[in-house]
Amino acid sequence: MHVHERNPKRTLITILLFALVIVFGWITMKKPRFNYALTPQQTVDMVINHRGCFHPYELEKVLNHKGGDVILIDIRNNFDFAKGHIPGALNITSVNLLNEENIKQLDEWKKNNVKVVFYHDDQLQANGAWMLFRQIGYSNTYVLLGGYRYFASYKDNLKQSEGTCLKGTAKYDFATVAKKSVAGFGDVSTSKPAKKVKVRRKKKEKAASGGC
Amino acid sequence: MNRNYLFLTLLMLVLAIGTFFIKKDDVYKNQIKPETLLQVITQPSRYVTTDQVAKRIIEKDPTLELIDVRLPGDFDKFTLPDAINVPLKDIFTDKGQDNLGIEDLNVVFFSNDDIIADQAWVIATRLGYKNMYVMKGGLNCWIETIINPTMPPETASEIEFEQFRFRKAASLYFTGGSTTQPVSVTKAKVKVRRKKKEKAASGGC
């Protein structure tokens, strides 16, 4: 064997330094606070199957038993909260939901299998926060259907809400309603072929060019 | 053979095996952080009103891309002009993503009402897409405000009457009457335009 191949001392030192850099990187790397626990597919399955919905009629039990294993969280701002809220609800404004102490609290509830129900004025405004928490692994979070507005108008008769306030259904037969008002109706709203979209995958932003 | 070669071999193997512990989610590279998602989720700026959508359709705004997230069966029966059908369950598939993130296009999701469209918006936003909106109230609201607008009471402000006139004209436009009364359409359009966007959306769902 040739002399320069006898002892790979410098090679070993270089590789060790390289390994040290990697260990250093590993240690100093910022670990993300939250990771997605659900894939987009699982998220879609969840919302399509209406998992994680909390119906207003279920509130009745909660209100009568006072607390128990359900916590209501009002994610509106504290001004709206002060004007009126569901009895027993806590107020955490939505932008503060991921704050350190709130997360600690949520973790505890999660550990103790407490149902956490988010609500806002209506379901739509609580939808985002609820979906976020479901996606980062808080499978104990729920969204109140109908929101505070429904509760405020029907608080004496929450039972009747069974099956009625699910959003997402069509109130009208769109096709007939949309054409009825005018006589000489054209084809504008019914059988329009879908617009051709330039199908273009999102490009890499500013990838380096090159190669030989 | 020098013993150091053995060390080198082992070290390199360890480094290579180490890469398995750093596996990243390769499929969704542009996914945004949950913290960022919360920030955008709490902004109501993603909601657009049916009036704004109607106006942009009438003006044939080339940057508007309407996405109907209902099922294909519903889509075939009725949808907004030039809308594309991407059911919620397909939103993150390759087919669905082809319609998102197209340069210079503003996506507006809509469904029967706004919940499902909003859910599509949340998922697409998580995947890193931008310039997307949700039509508030959805098609239910579309019918109530644009197709069958209700006359405001006598006491209503001038702005509300203007809005009503716009809706009346838009109704004609969308139900096929636009050819018969072109004058009123343009009139309404001009009037509506004077309003600032922020002031608009006062009525409805």
Binding site: I15, G25, K204, K206, A207, S209 | T9, A16
Partner: protein, 200 residues
């Protein structure tokens, strides 16, 4: 953070200065490893000198593993680096032609430059050949333009094509390379016994 120039951390004005510095490092490593000698290079095909295999595969596995770590640490965004586009059949043919050229010429383009630097006439002739080869290609291009552009798969990575995660390839290359290092060391010993004339 990285890549620095595409992310505008270093301005593009430095590009050519950096190019020369990187080139100097590249040339130094090639020459110092013995790549300026065509007999060292060709040895890999005849079993008497595996320096090409050693340098080449060590570089590939170190870079592969390193890039994966750097990407994970957020130091280097792998989605922003240049991925060589794949043109399947032209690339296979190109590789075959280059393989024959390698054995005949005893150099590859980069190594021939270092050969010229230390005064190898054969390296100079190889570089002239390179020039002619590309010139011929350019002139004859219209005859095989279709083939040249066929099989375009875009800037795909191994993961895009096979669906297997990148660490598997890094580990696979590492294991194969390390095994090859040990095996070829033995082969080299045996072959060299019969080559009194070749000085290493």
């Amino acid at each position: 953070m990285g890549p620095l120039i595409p992310n505008d951390i270093i301005t593009g004005d430095w590009n050519f200065v950096i190019a020369i510095l990187i080139g100097i490092a590249f040339g130094f490593i090639l020459e110092a490893s013995g790549f300026s000698s065509s007999r060292n290079l060709a040895g890999v095909f005849y079993g008497y000198n595996f320096v090409v295999l050693r340098v080449f595969f060590t570089a590939v596995i170190v870079a592969m593993v390193g890039l994966l770590y750097f990407d994970y640490f957020g130091w280097l965004d792998l989605s922003k680096i240049f991925i060589l586009p794949t043109f399947l059949s032209p690339m296979i043919l190109g590789g075959v032609i280059m393989g024959v050229g390698f054995v005949m010429g005893g150099f590859c383009p980069g190594t021939s430059f270092t050969g010229i630097a230390i005064g190898k006439t054969d390296a100079l002739f190889f570089a002239i050949g390179l020039f002619l080869g590309i010139f011929i290609f350019g002139e004859a291009y219209p005859y095989f333009a279709n083939f040249y552009n066929s099989g375009n798969m875009g800037n795909v990575t191994l993961t895009d094509v096979t669906g297997i995660a990148a660490p598997w390839f890094a580990l696979g290359f590492t294991v194969i390379a390390l095994a090859a290092f040990w095996v070829t060391a033995e082969i080299e010993k045996k072959v060299r016994k019969n080559m009194k004339e070749y000085k290493f």
